[in-house]
Subunit: 248 residues, 2 copies
């Protein structure tokens, strides 16, 4: 993937200037140092000055990149959710949102992608100090999904956007999707910890699929009385997943 000759004009693809590079490197160094201290010292047991020293920068510079230690830590979550959003955005516009979400989430069950998240989960266990920025990250992702879904609908005149209903619909759906994805992640971690083996990732995939299926089925309109009926049809990850649209 050589982006040929794109001097400094293109917006996203080719600004490999020295300054941008240094900035990215510094940002990464800060993030790494923060994670390192989180590992060695534990949450709440190190200061911004420690991070700065570890990253080889000044305390002031840290705040030029992140507004707080929590923000630096949450950059992991942001990166994780950004890949999900990326996947979501390049789904076909006429696809049901739930199906797009399912597809995007399943893409996350990849070693390189979940590894940082899994470690973050393990490091922030029983530490409400860090929960704040995490919640913010998920909430931010919700807003992004709303924006993406709205833009998708705008490009898709087939669905009539009744100005009255769409706002509630979009916000409810996006929030629920995020909540279910989060729930799947939480259950997965509580079950598999930081295990990144193929079986563990398969479980994660299935949990994500199941949570989306629960959402799509309206949670079976009741309690999970029949483990076979509501959402556990063993649909495997890469097969087309017919996804029978269950309308009422």
């Amino acid at each position: 993937m050589f982006t040929s000759i794109s001097p400094p004009a293109a917006q996203p693809p080719a600004p490999p200037s020295r300054r941008e590079l240094n900035k990215a490197a510094t940002r990464q160094a800060i993030s790494d140092s923060t994670l390192g201290l989180l590992r060695s010292a534990g949450p709440g047991n190190f200061t911004v000055e420690d991070i700065a020293e570890s990253a080889g920068i000044s305390r002031r510079t840290f705040f030029n990149y992140f507004s707080s230690t929590e923000a630096a830590i949450a950059s992991v979550t942001h990166g994780f959710l950004d890949t999900a959003l990326e996947q979501f955005r390049l789904r076909p516009a006429d696809e049901p949102i739930l199906e797009s979400a399912r597809a995007a989430l399943v893409e996350l069950a990849d070693p390189m992608t979940v590894a940082p998240m899994a470690e973050l989960f393990s490091l922030t266990q029983a530490s409400p100090l860090l929960a704040r920025s995490e919640l913010e990250a998920w909430d931010h992702c919700t807003e992004q999904i709303i924006a993406a879904a709205r833009e998708r609908a705008a490009r898709n005149p087939a669905v009539d956007m009744d100005g009255d209903m769409d706002e509630l619909y979009l916000r409810s759906l996006a929030g629920s999707v995020i909540s279910c994805g989060k729930a799947a992640m939480e259950v997965w971690f509580s079950r598999c910890g930081t295990d990144l083996s193929a079986e563990s990732l398969a479980i994660l995939r299935q949990l994500l699929i199941d949570s989306m299926a629960l959402l799509g089925s309206g949670f079976a309109a009741s309690a999970p009385q029949h483990p076979d009926s509501p959402a556990s049809q063993p649909l495997q990850s890469d097969s087309p997943a017919p996804h029978s649209s269950e309308r009422s």
Copy 2:
């Protein structure tokens, strides 16, 4: 509908001791002073010392009650969500969770209950500073719902709790319910602002009902193509709640 609120509470029926009373009064004074400053100065434009002075206490005492200004502000949201949880908990144990949630949420559409929330919404508009504690409050409510639902299931041997599925089910459902309730509140506020008239509350009720219906129907497995079909038909609270389309 007078819920016959007797002066003391249920479990702690007789602790009107002087100490408890003073503590409650101080706590309320702090909360009031904080809200007052939020009104007069705006978010981020006053310090803990200002609150303490306004409440007639010392700065140190403030921190004996709240860990931060945000926490003091979020006490409003906590109170709001606590009433919802209270309603949820006294629903019959054999009722579907979604229906219980719907009933509990509709109870919130009461002037005395929503008034503080509505004002908080208006005061914290465009202020991400306060969003953190708000998110925490909603998240805390989610955990409470999970706990309540789990306890309910434990007392209801009819539903078999498959140890494998229930965790994902509970977390997904609870998170989705909260997300939808939140979405309804947000839409309501963006539409009605701090209007607490009967019509406005009817709209809120209907939004809450609609969001739960969306959830129960699996979001119609698609986009809201038919404004009449997806979620608005079955239940009307007590007023037709005329839907007026306004678009930006």
